[in-house]
Amino acid sequence: MKKNVYFGLYLVIALLAVLPFVVPNSFYLDLVIRMAINAVIVLGLNLLIGFAGQISLGHAGFLGIGAYASAVLPTHFGWHPLVAMGAGAAATGLLAALVARPIFKLKGHYLAMATLGLGIIISIALRNEAQWTGGPDGMPVPTMGLFGFDLSSDKQWYWVVALLLSISVWASLNLIDSPFGRALRALHGSEVASQVVGVDVVRYKVAIFVLSAVFASLMGSVTAHYVGFVSPNFADFFHSIELVTMVVIGGMASVYGSLVGAVLLTALPQALATFEGWETVVFGAILMGSMIFLPKGLVPTLASKFGKGE
């Protein structure tokens, strides 16, 4: 069982090690980097949505806090990017922890509403505080310096992001197999039953929400530094939906599903660029189609078809 679990991780690491030598040009390298960044965010979000069964329609808000912390703090206050990144993550964690208790008393659509509202409030604030954030136009982000040298080329970024992704996959696999992970899955199954056997349901929900929010914030910072620019679209409702869709299309409660979902949905807009003017229609139709025909997501559907679990 254990061996089987890590087999996938080794495969991911091997793939990540080979990829930069086989991608044809910098366009694809950039695409791969963005896929990997999204994959880390989706891994965190899947812990919340897939494993714990809680919904969040505002995760892009947390991403936005991280990204803007990395843009605003070094630019306006001269903070070191790493410190800014940490501050962003800490602020996100604090905010998530503060709102989590009242929010996770809610269920289903009420929870969807509350998280959606939180995300929208954050994105409106980023849009409006133009003296700090550059408003709707966004703002440039200074280069990330790491231990004396600047992280600027795509190749360097690739290795950083590949490392982060490998660690995240490893951590997720371990987490879901730990008592913490079992508690999460239990409360997804039945909250009352898990309460009866002594799981502190609220505490676990809060913990996983904070964890996935901090994941998102950190990767928001990474994206901001990598792209060199942030704009409020980064934090908006539609981006939250994209992230949730990555979770569901890949497969809820599936670590490798998260990777597949992130890869597919990051590539999709590029692939659709050929449908001049029709991109939105086709994108929407694909979302609907995949949910109607593969409601369980790609990886779990395929896995059950070939008769083996992950």
Binding site: G117, F237, I241, V244, M252, I292, P295
Partner: protein, 291 residues
Amino acid sequence: MLAQFLQFLFSGVTVGATYALAALGFTLIYNASNVINFAQGEFIMLGGMLAVYFTQAGLPLPAALLLAILIPAIVGVVVEKLAIEPVKGAETVTLIIITIGASLVIRGLTTVIFGKGTHSLPPFSGDTPIEILGATLLPQSLWVLGITALVVVALWYFFNRTLQGKAMLATSYNRLAAELVGINTSWVLFMSFAMSAALGALGGILITPITLTSYDVGIMLGLKGFVAAVVGGLGNGLGAVIGGLLVGILEAMGAGYISSSYKDAIPFVLILFILFFMPRGLFGGKSTDRV
């Protein structure tokens, strides 16, 4: 002072009526299927855009408006038949993504057909403002309020006095029991999508002479309609109407007295506060879960 307050109140109630119609749409579909239809906002947008298109094409106003309500209703039914009925009982997240997919398709098609420009519709009966205690009220606001009130009364009659309406209510209480007494629940689902799309479109048409319209107005209007439905307690029709008016009024007051740039954030701050203290909205009542 009073004049200013009245002014904000008038604009709040007017926009609030649109939110109320959208919230009623959310409520209808939620009751029939437990689905939150994130495409609701697109019906509001479609109503406005189609009304503009048909009036510019030279149709008389009543005919243009009728078509601008009928077409979104058909679109609503198509969405229900193609995307909602095949996935009965799917998880909440799955349904949310499906309805968002539908909203993207509708919005995308609208841009392909009508472009990305902003459009306006002439007011139904002129634009000479009416003066009341120093504040001004647009004649169009009276149309919005009057028609919304009519619709609310008609809906009340439909749900309380007709067999079809009672069948829809019965389905929302208990689908299985409704099926057992011979109610055609798939007809109920069909009707609820048609009616809620029509209500959204009507709201969109009525407000367009005041606020203008373009392909992307549906997102915010829809989300605020959702807020309004949740404020009143999901599934509660009267709650949806009160929720809509409340959201509209607070938004206008907040924009006037606090900060106009944070206008769009006000409904969401409101809903977070309400949910923190009343997890099922103002009129949602207490729920007990059966285990």
